[in-house]
Symmetry: C2
Subunit: 332 residues, 2 copies
């Protein structure tokens, strides 16, 4: 297995990328990590010479401000573009980047290429839940597509179920639809029509609507939503968590000695809570519905998140989920 | 001023409603509280006889499971329906309920009636922010309408600005559009078109797009969004806050003596954080765009939330905001 890595993408690249790659290369000798980026900058941080790390020198990079589609088309020598090309050409099996999300989605769709039969690839992540029997849930689409048709949601459900089964090893994954109420007749025009398609989709086990309030309850293994709502929900979860942690920290710091002591004693608890909310340990987001795994971590990533995403990429490759999604959609 | 109160709506009705009404009647002698509901059940909790509390005996009620529009049309003797009728007839000036949200929206739109020129009344709430200079923000629509046109969003911006100015006493309120990125060209078809309308709306001070991650930053005085996304965002904020508090409580309870002691010392801090997230102190949600204030609190409400919502209702009536919104839209 060979993973093409855009070493130049992300706020702290290539440092944290190289560090995460070294962790992964050590842990997984069966996987070759191919870093695309400026060799001098990469070598500065490449303190371990491992036989399963390769460096391909590139001279351009896509920045966070670049227009996604235009930069993919014009910056032909960019690390992300060349890494994506290598996957398209079959030299490597998967693409990884912590860079410009829009550009990565464009590289995935336009260079790696859609799976025939899937109209819109979707961005999918795993979040933790409080449910002991189902401690994680896949959500898609988190923003690959701003405008979504009912049929897209139905395809998300199918591919999400494949992933839950192949990669998360869930025997009979369940699927829920994010909606504005749990009753069957709830929704806007898109979700109402999607509900009917999902009900009739024989590939999946559809359990009905769920509300954003219950995201952490682990109601299903897969949650489908349009990319606009998915993006808003994920960001409001992040914003709320950050706000609460900030309020607590302020209250501890600006309170009296009692608060400070309490904060000290509860330090581990607070860290534990922050950790259990940190979904980067589940890996990154995948652009799912293209011909190879296209993986993304936060721009403000660290070496551990890079490691976990590369670990996840390897698991996806080992599971053969994409091959079987291709078969499923091509046979339709 | 006279407020018509559906005493039978909500999980713990009429008890908490009557208790909240007594608090408000005592605090605001200039306002008459007219409770609609079963007189025996109301009188059980009506421990204070105040001259500005009236009770209108009704024999039916709308439950949480009732179909909104059908129940409004068929249950002609329901407390909510008769309270709404009294507002339409001019006997009372505003409507309050903690009952079935869908039914209240239907009663507001179908009985109290839309303001001419406003195509879709919207559900609006106030949330707290971490911004010292702008510690609250109005959000609309939170779910009155599942399907939203760009023109609806533009009208939400206008009426939201009126409310910020008249009721929240903000001199020149700013308006932001909830979107999937902050750049001007971001969005789905609806938000892209709405952006252009908002830019050209001379009644408002439009500052552009904002993301759900920044809801607590207090970027603007008014945030407009379609009801489907607004509903999802508000519910995911609630769900996230609840989950974090649950994780912390578990960590404190199941941890050792150190955690328990820390939890004890930090009890006030935790309560303070929970309080600052509790937006019920800002009052309830208003169905805005109908001919009188139609006010809603959570079904799982308490006497304080009822009090704050009645206080807010009185402030809305005193501000004459609805009269001026009517003038604005009728003159168009």
């Amino acid at each position: 297995m060979r993973i093409a890595i855009d070493a130049m993408g992300g706020d702290d690249a290539p440092k944290v990328i190289v560090e995460g790659v070294m962790l992964a290369a050590e842990a997984f000798p069966d996987t070759t990590m191919v870093m695309y980026g400026h060799q001098d900058e990469i070598n500065k941080y490449l303190t371990k010479k491992l036989s399963n790390i390769e460096v391909i020198h590139t001279t351009e990079k896509i920045s966070g401000d670049d227009d996604p589609v235009r930069s993919i088309r014009r910056k032909k020598e960019a690390s992300m573009v060349l890494a994506a090309q290598s996957v398209k050409n079959g030299e490597n099996d998967a693409l990884f980047s912590a860079g410009n999300t829009g550009a990565l989605l464009a590289a995935g769709t336009l260079i790696v290429g859609r799976i025939r039969g899937i109209d819109r690839p979707a961005l999918m992540s795993t979040i933790m839940t409080l449910n002991k029997d189902r401690n994680k849930m896949l959500i898609l689409d988190l923003g690959a597509n701003a405008d979504t048709k009912p049929e897209n949601l139905n395809q998300y459900a199918t591919i999400g179920s494949f992933y839950a089964q192949y990669v998360n090893k869930v025997d009979k994954p369940t699927v829920a639809l994010l909606n504005n109420g749990t009753e069957d007749n709830k929704g806007n025009q898109v979700t109402k029509a999607a509900f009917n398609l999902l009900k009739d989709n024989e590939t999946i086990d559809f359990i009905g609507n769920t509300e954003a309030r219950d995201l952490f309850s682990g109601v299903a293994d897969v949650l489908v939503t349009d990319g606009f709502t998915g993006n808003a929900v994920l960001k409001s979860m992040e914003g709320t968590a950050l706000t609460i942690m900030q309020l607590l920290t302020t209250s501890i710091k600006e309170g009296g000695i009692k608060n400070k002591l309490g904060g000290l004693l509860l330090k581990d608890s607070l860290k534990e809570v922050a950790n259990s909310l940190d979904y980067s340990k589940f890996g990154g987001a995948i652009l799912f519905g293209v011909k190879a795994p296209v993986m993304k971590t936060h721009g403000a990533t660290n070496d551990e998140a890079v490691f976990h995403t590369l670990k996840q990429t390897r698991e996806i490759l080992q599971s053969n989920v994409i091959e079987d999604v291709v078969k499923k959609f091509e046979s339709n």
